[in-house]
């Protein structure tokens, strides 16, 4: 009798444990859906001259003062739809695996262009002497140029847009 009871408890306990495990996994998964508001924190170090690693806990409450761009969106080309946050230290774009955005584009150079922030907090795009050039709007870059949210860059067959 007792054994029968134990068995029933064990057997139902197994089902409960299985589902508890499933929910634990889903709980971890939620981080994917809700835990990704990272752009604010990336924009926070904008004010300091060149803080290599901003304290992650700060900058949560403080809104970024500037209305500069915070992310880079690929709007056309093979990686279309990809989004990545801009970092003040610089975001490298090119075909080389070390780049933040690795383009799969025959018309892009290994290290093609860089988007970074200068001392004044202004975002700049710089062509790294690429073979086929970086276009801001319709003009080919010859020197670092200022960019704002909404600026459209073209590298090879890839079109990038800076967004807030």
């Amino acid at each position: 009798m007792l054994s029968e009871l134990t068995l029933t408890v064990l057997r139902l306990g197994l089902l409960v444990a299985l589902w508890a495990f499933v929910f634990a996994v889903v709980g971890v998964l939620r981080g994917d859906l809700y835990g990704t508001r990272v752009n604010k924190r990336v924009a926070a170090p904008a004010r300091g001259p060149a803080p290599a690693r901003p304290a992650p806990a700060r900058g949560r409450g403080a809104k970024p003062a500037r209305k500069g761009p915070t992310r880079l969106v690929v709007t056309a080309g093979p990686l279309s739809g990809t989004t990545l946050p801009l970092r003040a230290a610089g975001t490298l774009i090119g075909r080389s695996p070390e780049c933040a955005l690795v383009l799969d584009d025959d018309y892009a150079s290994g290290r093609h262009a860089r988007i970074y922030q200068d001392e004044r907090g202004q975002w700049l795009v710089e062509d790294l002497r690429s073979t086929n050039g970086t276009y801001l709007g319709a003009t080919r870059l010859t020197e670092p140029r200022e960019v704002t949210a909404g600026s459209v860059l073209r590298i090879g067959q890839t079109t990038l847009e800076l967004q807030r």
Binding site: S3, T6, L7, T8, L10, R11, L12, G13, L14, L15, A17, L18, W19, F21, V22, A24, V25, V26, V28, L29, D32, G35, T36, V38, R41, V42, A52, P54, P56, P78, L79, S80, G81, T82, T83, L84, P85, R87, A89, G90, T91, L92, G94, P97, E98, C99, A100, L101, V102, D104, S109, G110, R111, H112, L128, R129, S130, T131
Partner: protein, 460 residues
């Protein structure tokens, strides 16, 4: 698609450790439950087996900490749980057949699991970057097709249970199709990354579908012929569906064009219908599928009917481990392990297992979204889709959604080749996810390279 990287990325290794321990605990609970239900005592080998299984999964966890710190933290726990549950169920069928642990299938499966984990860990250690695989695109293609056709070779090919998908070398038999799945995914990914631009150029638009140009149809026709060959000569509908489905899915992922799916489905439907008209064994399968309980069907095989009866006997919460009769069904420990779970854990338990599969596939697809290189994206998507498709074929087969085919349920079914291939698949997914979740390379860190400018090659 979006790449999300947080400033202080969490590797998730601790989460993984906790969940893996929980998975091993659940497997232990199932084993205790089984022992109490069948013999009334806590099984004697519990400590040894439990520690052994824990050791194997923790060893893999340590390898992840060492070699893929940012890999997805959920893949290992899920796979540990599925593999362990499979072991318990195989042991349960052993008991019902009067075999004890030492001479049963379960112990062999446990050894295969350990070997599979060792090989998967080896893959993680050796393969530091999944993009290396891209170099072997065409080699992988050749190897894949050879593996597919290997069972047709006269000496080593071996026909079991009506399908010629085994090879036999001395005492070992192996199902090369399982490994072919992996290798072909590498080939398709490498090939499609190169050619997807050509395959997605605008074609003629018919009824809202952009159809490809006739000359771009070559690859899909080749894949179709190959999978039809598998169906006809190896009499294996499952593998054939798996390979063709994998190719069509990856083609769709690469080109984002629905027309490929339409063409693929149409081709497969036509091929399957032709095979149905021509071959007796396909007709038997269809008869078993549509009229499972008819006298003619029961005469040729009552396996499917018994599996369905078993699941019905299990009902909502199941009979409990050790209290059902899953062993009545032929192959209850491999192809029909899903009905065995349905009977003893009930619909609630079976759905937990299906959700685990869904989560596994979701992690794979998430990895594919997060990766920043096209090859990795395609490979991760292809590998996870092949897992999903295999689950669909297996579960769909035993529940009469599609004709029954001889595929194994990943990680659950007894069978060494399937375990080896699927653990390796997970190792590759872990490698890609490590790459996807790893924080972006810092500008300062690579300063030596960072100072160098792009070399401009001036053409004369």
């Amino acid at each position: 698609m979006s790449v999300v990287s947080s400033l202080a990325p969490r590797s998730g290794r601790t989460t993984e450790l906790v969940l893996t321990l929980a998975a091993v605990a659940i497997v232990g609970l199932a084993y205790v439950n089984l022992g109490l239900a069948t013999s009334g005592t806590i099984p004697p080998g519990l400590a040894a087996l439990g520690v052994g299984y824990l050791g194997v999964s923790l060893a893999f966890h340590v390898v992840l900490r060492w070699r893929a710190r940012y890999a997805d933290p959920l893949l290992l726990p899920i796979v540990t749980l599925l593999n362990g549950l499979g072991l318990v169920m195989i042991h349960r069928v052993d008991i019902a057949r009067g075999r004890d642990l030492s001479d049963g299938v379960a112990l062999r499966q446990l050894m295969w699991s350990a070997l599979a984990v060792a090989i998967a860990a080896g893959v993680l250690v050796v393969l530091r970057d999944h993009r290396i695989l891209r170099r072997y695109t065409y080699l992988a293609g050749a190897v894949g097709f050879v593996l597919l056709l290997l069972p047709l070779m006269p000496l080593i090919g071996n026909s079991e249970y009506g399908s010629r998908i085994w090879i036999r070398l001395g005492p070992f038999s192996f199902q090369p199709g399982e490994v072919a799945k992996l290798v072909l995914a590498v080939f398709f990914a490498g090939y499609l990354v190169q050619t997807r631009d050509a395959l997605s150029v605008a074609g003629r638009k018919v009824l809202g579908l952009t159809l490809p140009r006739a000359r771009d149809l070559g690859p899909i026709l080749l894949a179709w012929l190959a999978s039809l060959g598998v169906l006809v000569f190896e009499k294996d509908l499952g593998s054939s569906l798996l390979f063709f489905g994998l190719f069509v899915a990856m083609l769709y992922v690469a080109t984002e064009r629905v027309s490929w799916i339409a063409i693929g489905l149409a081709l497969f439907g036509a091929g399957a219908y032709l095979a149905y008209l021509t071959f007796g064994h396909v007709q038997t399968r269809v008869l078993l599928w549509l009229h499972t309980f008819s006298p003619e069907a029961l005469q040729s095989s009552d396996q499917l009917a018994k599996g369905l009866m078993g699941m019905a006997a299990g009902g909502m919460i199941g009979t409990g481990l050790g209290r059902g009769r899953p062993d009545l069904t032929y192959l209850a420990e491999s192809d029909f392990i899903v009905p065995s779970f349905g009977e003893e854990l009930g619909m609630i338990g079976l759905f937990a297992i299906l959700v685990l599969y869904a989560l596994l596939v979701e992690r794979g697809l998430r990895t594919s979204l997060g990766t920043r290189d096209g090859f990795g994206k395609l490979l991760a998507a292809g590998l996870s889709f092949s897992l999903a498709l295999q689950c669909f074929v297996v579960v769909g087969g035993v529940t009469r959604v599609i004709p029954l085919t001889g595929l194994t349920a990943p990680f659950l079914s007894s069978g060494g080749s399937s375990l080896l291939a699927n653990w390796t698949l997970v190792a590759i997914l872990l490698r890609i996810s490590d790459h996807a979740r790893r924080p972006l390379p810092d500008e300062q860190e690579g300063s030596a390279v960072g100072e160098a400018r792009t070399e401009v090659v001036r053409m004369p």
